[in-house]
């Protein structure tokens, strides 16, 4: 249970910086990369997959 909380906290931490990076990045290709990474991370955060 503690491991799960730590895991979810790491995901939230990563998601924050990825989304931050999306809004500051000027290269659309890197923004697309970020958007693709967000999808599995959110599914993990919601414990769906």
């Amino acid at each position: 249970m503690v491991v799960t909380i730590i895991y979810l906290a790491i995901i939230v931490f990563l998601l924050f910086f990825i989304i931050w990076n999306m809004f500051t990045e000027k290269d659309i290709m890197l923004q697309i990369d970020a958007a693709l990474v967000i999808i599995p991370l959110v599914l993990r955060l919601l414990l769906i997959k």
């Binding site: 999306m22 290269d27 959110v42 599914l43």
Partner: protein, 421 residues
Amino acid sequence: MTLSIKTKHNVLSALILLALAAGAIVYLSLQFTRMWTPDPVYEGKNPSVKEVRRLSDYNENLKGSKGDTNIYVIEGDEPGDSMLILGGVHANEPAGMLAAVYLVENLHPKAGTVYVIPYTNEAGFTCNDPLEASPMFFSIDTPTGPRQFRFGARVTNPVCQWPDPDIYVHASSGQRLAGSETRNLNRTYPGRTNGTFTEQISYGLVQLIKAEDIAVTIDLHEASPEYQTINTTVAESRAMKVATTGRFNMDWDGITMSVEQSPTTFHGLSHIELGTWTDTLALLMETSNPSQGREHGLTGSDLVIYGKDKFYARVKAAVGLKDSDYSEEYGRPIQQRVARHITAINAYAAAYTEEFANAAAAEDKLTAFTSMGLGASSYPDSDGHIIYEGRRGVIDLGELPSYDTLCTDLFDYLAIPEGQN
């Protein structure tokens, strides 16, 4: 070379991409969570189903979790001993699950009580195995319309139990296996009440067998056409007589079945551990399923249902297959795989009755031993069978369709009741 497209409107593009990602997340969430809903089982079709229990009735730790599952209690017209049928221990081996569903909806035992669990590892049905490109569902055509079933994973959903250790150590033996096997229900018997999620499912099953004095347990599986134990029954040593008698009876009907005794050095499997830790006679059966192996092509639902695969046909032509009758034209249809399971279950019930018919007489001796103050609850008869107190030595599954009928008409028996399709 790295493709780079610079923009001055990076906030706008980020918002658009974030909206697209959100859309994908919603769509994928809806798709994946469809597997969380259990498939309907129409036990109302069968008046012999007297009760539906839950596995959490035997291990309350499972209550409200994805590990809880239905146990259908099918009572015979006359008293007899109890049998437990486990389908769906591995959720990517659908013939076992479908055979169990067939029994729930169609079995009318003459004597004894049959406990059937179609989705034994329910948590395995809530996801797919990663990197296998398996279908999430497969559908069969019944006379009242298509009926959909989930095609799950071999092991428990990692959402329910994680992280996997590097090495899985089986609790009661110290056996070491690959870490992911910690979520394999057929490696965790006899389980522990305070163990991992999967161990708690095995523990619940062991408690069920003990509480209901299950005389015979049959665990239904499938394996790839090259695997050594296809069309084989593996039996714990005390169950060998039932397994061999049943096998000979099937030979008379033209169905080939090999019998192997459980290995004594491989732990965690249902047949060896249930046979060791409980008084049940434990058997495990495997059918040949081309969607299981490493040689097949596209893992679509057609492969799951019909088992037709040109690559397995090529493997057979090149180096041979354990499934020596395999052909691309006929494949290994799920009707045939389910028919094998059901015919074998019936054969083993008959073999149990054949082997233990003198149980009542033996129980007189048992009573005599108990009254002599020897405290016996089991007694070996002159044939070496262990006779248990209170057992009658009879399980009669009544009239079941023949193997050939099931091979052609199985889906008719799985029709969705009117008004529920």
